[in-house]
Symmetry: C2
Amino acid sequence: MKSTGSLDTVGNREYGQYCGLARAAEVIGQRWTLLILRDLLVAPRRYSELVAGLPGIPTNLLATRLRELEADGLIRREARSGADRAIVYRPTARGSALIPTLDALSLWGAAELRTPRDGEIVTTAALVTGLRVAARSNVGPDPAIAFGCTVRIGEAVVHAVVENGDVLVAPGAHPEPDLQITGGAGFRDFLAGVTDPGAAAADGSIEVQGDPALLHQFVAIFQVPYSNWVPRTVPA
Amino acid sequence: MKSTGSLDTVGNREYGQYCGLARAAEVIGQRWTLLILRDLLVAPRRYSELVAGLPGIPTNLLATRLRELEADGLIRREARSGADRAIVYRPTARGSALIPTLDALSLWGAAELRTPRDGEIVTTAALVTGLRVAARSNVGPDPAIAFGCTVRIGEAVVHAVVENGDVLVAPGAHPEPDLQITGGAGFRDFLAGVTDPGAAAADGSIEVQGDPALLHQFVAIFQVPYSNWVPRTVPA
DNA sequence: CGGGATCCCCCGAGATACTG
DNA sequence: CAGTATCTCGGGGGATCCCG
């Protein structure tokens, strides 16, 4: 019988170079690993929650990745005792040290995003991460500004709290939002500043409830411009 | 034919999520891609130079990756005319925008590095990147400090110039170095501060020519501490 | 000789059924 | 619920070959 793969000679994973970048690629460069870490860094998760948040991941691969991440010291497997005998995966300090790195990757990749491809969805973890990274990449908001808002894109529901010049983004709806934005594919153009906030609300590409004046504040805080990327297929 | 296949399940490279991090993983998460970009960001390179700097890369894979990177707008293929009809691969602005991201990856990964594994080598591009990233991660050097140095680790030869509070690292030897450091595996402990500079020079783990007093400056500028990573195999 | 393309083999990833 | 077991398939490793 095949060994459980715990000690598979990793030849295929390594690069043979003594280099920080190569090592990083070996540890977090495997397929699905970055998205698993993204979800766990939003909040500790159980196996079934990870499966739900990562549509399409093969369950055996998720199990393998979780084992690898634990062996590499990036996450910890916590078996809770008591009535709720759930197993929870939680980032270690070393895993949390990846946050600036994942933020840099997210920010660069977010500038590549344009119209969603067929079948592409927005998960809650993706939206939390995207908004948080966008806010960090811009200058902090005016400390005088304070509001709470809920954003819904497809199935994803997240909320953000802006106060004291700081921004907090987390899963779920805000209990008493000053602003609610519900959007689809047009939300990206709205965030990029392509669509004027007022126009976006008017033409239905986003739906707004609450104080419309806050929309401009929202864009200023969470804006992510498109990269000036050029389409590859140049017309002849 | 493939009965289930036409469910349009995500192409092998894609994740089916509208997410910056997912996009970044799709574009630069393929095997060898990060190291190719690392080399090209040190200096534009020709195909054969890339092959030489990436030991073990299959040539067909390199050709494929270069095509993908060009299609994704990260690099440009420049066919030089004239006597030297070489083809040179050069990062675009969009590719160069990855520098902060690769730096973050390098820095995180460098903290993971311990004793080189069997067969692991140090390439020139790896050393240039490693020293540059390390210097950026520390507070800038005192503007009053100025020196040039050459560092040799295995086959890799690079030089650094420190002046005006800034640090420049590039391939090749310095023409008139104030300091020369030649090292092997012990160089990493030296950089981490595990070995005192004086002791390292004394016990032969590194070899120094030039002003020994500059060694302390060198360490202060290029130090990369180990992460407090815990070995996975805990003794019973 | 630089810059690839072609071939074969195998491992890792996808899909799904199954189990403690 | 939290994973294994098992199959298939495509991408990557490795060597060789080819073309201008």
